[in-house]
Symmetry: C3
Subunit: 213 residues, 3 copies
């Protein structure tokens, strides 16, 4: 079951990378490049930081073939996919939910620390998309007021909480993935936002504006 989820996550993230390539009107190798960066980028950085060597797709190149297959599929069908952009956002939410739990499980196994596990879960679920946005020169998902990193951290945290409470692995994984999916899904469906920082001009700031200008 986890293995199927894993490949599905790679495939869905690879599809979002290939769609970014289609928006930039790249050639097939450009599709392949962005599919691979987005599909396996987050897990690659996780494995490097945790000291897994070599990284997962060097052990098992089937992940690369999944990315290549998705890139080819999207190259010829992107005009259809684009009409299903909302469907894709929901698939992406499924990928995020699966990945934050799997990243947390790997991080906990490697370090024994719940804090590291939560960070590893958030990294696995989000760094692929960040790489995609930086390299395709599109506005980064980090800058949009979206609940994205937050959903990944929540999922990883719920998973770790359940593990700490001695829940069986399958239940902890289910609870973590469901929490992440519910938060991300609510953000997509209802437009939920987290209050963001707003500058509050005050005496001190006005003074600094005078000095710094």
């Amino acid at each position: 079951m986890l293995t199927i989820l894993d490949y599905a996550g790679v495939a869905v993230f690879a599809a979002t990378g290939a769609l970014a390539a289609s928006r930039q009107q790249l050639d097939p190798i450009g599709f392949l490049f962005f599919a691979a960066m987005t599909g396996i980028g987050g897990g690659t950085i996780r494995d490097l930081v945790l000291g897994q060597r070599p990284v997962f797709w060097v052990e098992n190149p089937a992940y690369l073939l999944v990315c290549a297959g998705v890139a080819g599929l999207v190259f010829f069908t992107a005009h259809l996919f684009e009409s299903r952009y909302r469907l894709l956002l929901w698939l992406d939410a499924i990928g995020l939910a699966a990945y934050c739990v799997m990243g947390a499980a790997k991080g906990y196994a490697a370090s024994g620390s719940a804090v590291v596990a939560i960070v590893a879960g958030a990294m696995t679920a989000t760094f692929g998309g960040i790489l995609r946005d930086v390299l395709s020169e599109e506005p980064s998902v980090l800058m949009r007021p979206e609940i994205y990193v937050t959903a990944a951290m929540l999922g990883a945290a719920v998973f770790m909480l359940a593990i700490t409470l001695a829940a069986p692995l399958w239940l902890a994984a289910l609870a973590g993935a469901a929490s992440a999916f519910a938060l991300r899904g609510g953000a997509l469906f209802y437009g939920w936002r987290i209050p963001s920082y707003r500058p509050r001009p005050g005496r001190a700031q006005e003074e600094s504006l005078k000095k710094d200008k």
Copy 2:
């Protein structure tokens, strides 16, 4: 022979990094930074992903000295080099040809997988230039409709095909490098392009435009 090619590749890529620094009118340390990022960046990411530790230039710091020497040379001679931009593109093509084969050889030795070897070859030959473009805030080579990543993948693939067919190492390396150089050179000389994705407006997409707007 391979060692000379290796240093020549580092030097040529370092020179393209230093030229990017000259376009940004940086100071000598900026030249050094971009020369090092471009010259050794691709191989560094390759070594990290393959689990080589430490990376090649920590084992053998002479690579860093080559980058430093090239950066100093370009700082005082960039006004001459710029007039030889086309020569540099051809030197860059030689570096690409050498690097995709060497990256593939390292990737195959580390993983035993031809797919991983091709990806490692393409990464080694292209990630230095990608880092250079992202950090110097210039339009990325990824976005231009150029045959670049494609040439690196072709070279690595031809090398792996020859190895699989039990060709001697020198012949496989020569065939791979020659293929990559021929494709990249043809792109430079004749302006070859790969057909890129063009949006095809159709019924489905028009509907989605209405819904998403």
Copy 3:
């Protein structure tokens, strides 16, 4: 003493990351993300390249908690911090001074090479800020004509010179950190600049402009 400096460096760099998040008006998780990237990014890349595994904050997650604490603090007090931007630049200079020496010490221990040590010192002190600038889509510190990477390299070089001259560790560390701080501080206080590359139009370049246009 070194441990206190280490945590102080992480905290100061994390604060500059959180301030970047405040300029982008992000939510609290955005503050956390940028605080962590800036606070531990440079040391993470250093550890990966030197082959330390896992990286330092996986061994000791307290560094992550420092970043989280700083992010929370800055989220509620950024309007005060902004009025103290110059104070922060000076704290950042202290962090740079401490980090270039500690990075050089780690690099020398891992490789035995002074060149690698200097590069590792410069990486540790500067890559966190570079990641912050690239991901927050702000103009990179690399592009500004500031003495920043240069100060980090000087500090690492002075430290290595003192070690080579058989100075005791504490004296070498002090000399390195003081050199870096003096150069960076002079740049902040007096506006010191290093001569940067200026294109010199000449016969050769004019010809190339004609040809390339």
